[in-house]
Symmetry: C2
Subunit: 349 residues, 2 copies
Amino acid sequence: MTNMHYTLTFNTAAVKYQLHSSFGALDSLIDPANSIIITDTDVAGLYPHLFTGHRTVIIPAGERNKTLETVQYITEQLLQHQAHRKTFLVGIGGGTVTDITGFVASIYMRGLPFGFVPTTLLGMVDAAIGGKNGVNMGLHKNLLGTITQPQFILYFPSFLETLPIEEWSNGFAEVIKYACIFDKELFEELSDNNINYYQQNREALTTLISRCVDWKNKTVLEDEKESDKRKLLNFGHTAGHALETQYHIPHGHAVALGMIIACMVSEQVEGLDISVRKKLVALLQQYKLPTMISFDIEQVMNLLKMDKKRTTDTIDYIVLEGIGKAIIKNIQFDTIEKALVSFKDAGNY
Amino acid sequence: MTNMHYTLTFNTAAVKYQLHSSFGALDSLIDPANSIIITDTDVAGLYPHLFTGHRTVIIPAGERNKTLETVQYITEQLLQHQAHRKTFLVGIGGGTVTDITGFVASIYMRGLPFGFVPTTLLGMVDAAIGGKNGVNMGLHKNLLGTITQPQFILYFPSFLETLPIEEWSNGFAEVIKYACIFDKELFEELSDNNINYYQQNREALTTLISRCVDWKNKTVLEDEKESDKRKLLNFGHTAGHALETQYHIPHGHAVALGMIIACMVSEQVEGLDISVRKKLVALLQQYKLPTMISFDIEQVMNLLKMDKKRTTDTIDYIVLEGIGKAIIKNIQFDTIEKALVSFKDAGNY
């Protein structure tokens, strides 16, 4: 089994990464008497035995519940459990659970220690890593949040045995993202395989997860506060977030579509060869991700103009020079609008 | 005029402190086109001219509005103003305004730059300084918040010309607090004077403010995250916060009462001479602060058991060895309860 057992020291804190085959490993890292688990109805339903002997706060599953109201609900529950500054919070779930757990932990009594156990592929390769947390407000994704590192992230690949197929696709959208930004070899490996292969081959899967974790951490170690290089990780996420919140589509679907749009932007501003986009579209389809959507250009543009990466008239957009080579480019909103028009017209591949 | 113009470098950020006689100084520090002022109905009503030419968000005045709902309201207003990651927020007001501005700034889009202009004596000597921010939830004061330093704190003593007399008293409660913890000479200076003296003597007032700012900053520079020495600043604030939220009394009144209770705790655990408490009571009365209150011991104890400084069975309490010499002592809740009984019995001095 892939060896994943190390500590990374970020500017703000040290984070332990560990991969385990048995859930029992959690109890070696926390004191149940002094910790509270935060999870959602999906995970609690599938793994009820995990939570016996632990104080647990269960939130309703789904990104639509990643709100200030849920922060308030968790806070009230923490008060009921008499949580204090030294109480340890453990978020066990997908990106919604870890994002909201990290946010509550970073503001409850001005900060509690916390750790994550991601249960989805998307959480394992992306959402749980890097310290970004937050909640949505209306159509604005992660509008309120902080960057605060957890003390640990524990990987139990066996959680993936119960993961629905559409959640595998969502996770692979982020895996394909790393390949596009950093790793041409990974792009080729993915092209040679499919979801079923990774489901059947635990060694290949954990190696894949570990490779994505490394790409993300390498980037965050260099630029924790996203003043520069970390922005690369937003490849596909700018138009993607706008489509996600406006049309209530899963995050991985939105990133897939956003990456195609980013290729179209790259074709305009970097002269990216159209063959790159065609290869990406084929790969996304191979991993059961959508490559088109019906949408309204004006609605999406209005949301883009409120993106976190925006300044007054321009936006930092992540574009490709080729597969495995992304750069940050400050571009005009017009350029994105043109790409959206082409994307809408492209219709089908 | 007292010279107050320097930059202090905390672990997390550098903070400029400046004292000015004219409000115009604000415009030399911010770009109105790229900043948004947050203030309350009291300040906006008294100084409407200050806000012309500035985008302004006005929240209802009063500690009872320091809530997540107001955070949501400010966030919606910031979205309307298309605030982005480089938008600068300026909190102009008392502790409620600066606490909530600092909190919103530390979480909106995961953090905006911000600065403060405290308009009350309490804000100038305490609330605006040190980076602690937050909102209340139910009876729990500052339950949700962060420690994030502003980029500047500007002092315009002329704001105090419109400060109601009860707000002078509230501010002096914190001034007396610094005297008790750190500064016997200040205790004596205060004993020799009264509110009227400082209202009439601008030089003495700014020297006093500057002295309090120095005490607070000296402490926060040593221990920004309140793992140790910063706890001293909570003298009078433990029982004080419980009385404040349970009985809806002003913060300064609560601190005054809390300091008397802390003396009674100190008499039990440090053998503090009763003459100290008598001097403190006399000084509080001289600055028109209350020295008794009708309260329910059980209600107050229940709230104390949820204080942020608590761990499981004990609490870090700030006790006096003498005037100007405070220490942190981990004590049992029983000890506080005994002090509350004595305080209730004391009735009158």
